[in-house]
Amino acid sequence: MNKVKKFDIAQILRNNAVTITFVILCIVCLMFSGLQVSYLVFELFTRISRNAFIVLALIIPIIAGMGINFAITIGAMGAQIAILWVLEWGVPGFKGFLLAAALTIPIAGIFGWLVGLLLNKMKGQEMIGSMIMGYFANGLYQLLFLFIFGNIIPLSNPNLVIRGSTGVANTLDLSRKDGIKHALENLGQIKPDLAVYILAAIMILIAAYMYLYKKDKTKKPFALAGIAVLMVAVSFTPIFKNWFSMVKIPVATYVLIGLLCLFNYVIMKTRLGQQFRAVGQSGTVANAAGINVNRVRLIAIIISTILAGIGQLMFVQNMGSFQTYGAHEQVGLYAGAAILVGGASIAGATNGQALLGCVLFHTLFIVAPAAGKNLLGDAAIGEYFRVFISYGVIAMALVMHAWRTVKKKKSLASNLADASAKA
């Protein structure tokens, strides 16, 4: 066990192969794309404010041992139903956003409950199950938006229906007067250096709290405070000023993302969080320990689906419009790929991995088409490449996970065999 230190670097490399590959890929693509770093950073902040929430919604089911919950698309559908009705009633701005959120929570909650019930019937096949469920729900969603809304349940807002055809319009525009576009952004945006100061202040406060009240005598509080000071120092450098020159940070969005991170962190400290973990490690053991496995799994999926719904709301209000019949379809794929890129696996994920994954994944999405065009003379190649990367990353993660499970089983079996041979 003392040898561990020597192997450390190789071990780290091996465990984070995907992330490291991605970092290299991002840098190479950035170099060939010819894009300005300041533009990249600006795009990145916008995309993270749209997407991070949904990616963070994936963590709890992963910890509860259900793999990547591709059924978050169903939560997104719930959010889109809510938005449709908020548009129909014409509630604008932040009020509209709150109303949409209030609607999304019960709708996505019910959807999540149904998904959870079904997933409990297909243990061990959750990922393919949740994916197919997403497809199936998409059919129901089309039925709802094409043949029920606007026909059986009439819509009075003329912008929501297609004239001379059935159902809800192909694109729903939120940027009209009664829309909810930029509901969160309009609550206030700040410059990045101010954001750094605030963040640094919070970190120093936490460090002080840890040192003074928790009597944490390790290096941790000092490290935290040191990083905070460093951040402030960096914010004065010209490189920072240059790179972040275009960025404006929507406070409400990032506060929400921060709160979700906190939620994910805190819930793991509670009894329920412990149960998630126990069920994730082994359903049988958890069952033997008196945990109602099905109930815990159900709760995990419901939370994830609701969070995904809120995440889709944040996404859509930032975009300002969405494709009624397509905006939800790829949510699961991209969120799943993003969290895996950050170093999460099918069996474990953290806030940090989700956020890092978000950054890397979106960096590649921004630079790949431009790099493809410059390198190979065809933007389509970059386009296809990023889709390939999304699928490929998930496929890789699944293969690695399955591999490890098989290996673990084998080593367990051989250990047992050894033990019985000795006996």
Partner: protein, 620 residues
Amino acid sequence: MKIKLTTQRIVAIILAVISVALMATSAFGFSKRTSEDARKLLADMTVRSLLVNTGEGAVEAMVKIAVEKARVKAKEEGLSMSQRREAAEKAEKDARANLSYQSVDYSTVDNAPILNAAGILKNAQVEYYKKVEEEKELFIEQQQLIAPVEEEVQETLSIEEGVEEPLSIHGEVDMSTFVQSAEADALQAKVDEAYEVLTAVLMKVYPEMDKESMKTLKQTLLDLNYQSGETYESRFDRLIKYNDNNVDFRSKLMRNAKNLLLLGIFLFLLALVVWFYNSLVKSLGVPRIIIGLFFIVLCLGSLALNLNLRTLLSDTLVRMGMNSILVLAMLPGIQAGISLNLGLPIGIIGGLLGGLMCIEYGFSGWFGFAFAIAAGTAISLVLGYLYALLLNRLKGSEMAVTTYVGFSIVSLMCIAWLVLPFNSPIMKWPMGNGLRTTINLTPSYRHLLNNFLSFKIFGITIPTGLLLFMIIACLAMWLFSRSKTGIAMQAVGNNPRFAEATGISVNKMRIIGTVLSTVLGAVGIIVYSQSYGFMQLYTAPRQMGFVAASAILIGGASTQRAKISHVLIGTFLFQGVLTLGMPVANELVPQSTISETMRILISNGIILYALTKAGGKGNE
């Protein structure tokens, strides 16, 4: 034997009684159709609708004259443009107000001459339309042989959209070059002649009408009198509009006789299902009962909506044949224990490469087809072997992995299609890089199997070659499953531990199953595209694994067990529902994608069902 009366049986009996009552009523309705009264009713309706239409025409003609008069008068008086317009509008208003009182009292009109003229006209129309229809059909067939019209092909960057299966297997034929024969011309002259006679009779009733205005009414009146392919129902519906919609109950009964009959048949079948529910569930399972009933509903529905069931059944046969090999590819996978091979796109890509090579080298006909299959098989053998090696390392969680491996290979190939060094102008975009999204197979082997020995029976076209190919492939699979290797493979699928204990190499058998499945996928896509007439590249293969998987599941397979019969039944039911569903759905909700929605629901619903069934045992 005493039969216990349960609720279920009571319901069945009630359903049966209702259905018998409906059928009896409908029989009464049918029998009344041929009676003298009914014939007279229909004749009266025809005459009246002709009169009403001519009357409307007459009013229009009068109004036109009045307006013209007013305009001329206004011009003479030297009024300004706006005043003239006002005067014309006033004249039109007045004329309409006066004329509406002048309409003819229908009871005073002598029906007999009109009826006679209309009858003669109808006979002429029947002959003429029949001739033209025949000629058009011949024309379409010839045109399709020469050059099928290429589908609207769009190059789009939107690669996110799900890929739909082509629901129509017929290209639209350009009819602008169609010219009818001299024989048809003669028949048309007869129609014109008969119309002249009718015009003369009608003009006696409406002296206001001149020949010119009767000419403008010609098409309307011809359509009223007779339409090609009309039935009792469509004729009745057409005429009833001009008869103030008031008909007695008996006429309604006659009109709806067919619908009642179809409803009766459906209820009777439903009664049977309810009566034998338990044993049916045991032997077929709930999803198959639902889908089977749905299929029957669609058949009856297409009859009720007066769609051409024969064409639809022909299409179903073609689509069954073209999809069957792809579905068959699921079989060895399930039997060897890798469950549903959702990585089928890997095999499909092998097949597509084979097809592309065939076009690139300029092969065509049977040799081209054989070459495409051979090349596709060779490529997919290699791909399948590598794929099988991968699968052997991840026993137990194949489905999720194979899906995503398949997806990533499809998107990798999207890049490959853009950069592969193929040169044939058939395949490349005329401008820019890469291969087309759909590639026309007319120069190589389009419809080769479909047209081989195909014949018509009862109006249903049997694609003999295609069905033969399907049967041969199934037979080969069946023979293989009887061989020593086949039995060993199934043993591995059923119980790997037992198989291992008896000395069978589990890994080897799984490799055989996977490779076989991949190769069948390659052959399957070649057969599929020869029927469809086009090869689809890029994202098209992505969902094909799901379509094939849902078909075999509909046929009765589970994720662990499958037979040849499941393949055949499943493909027929699934494709039948899709083929019949589209026109029926479009008739009910015009211009909608409801059939596509239906496909999504059925296809994914059945896979979900299978997963819930399999999951119970899959617990740790």
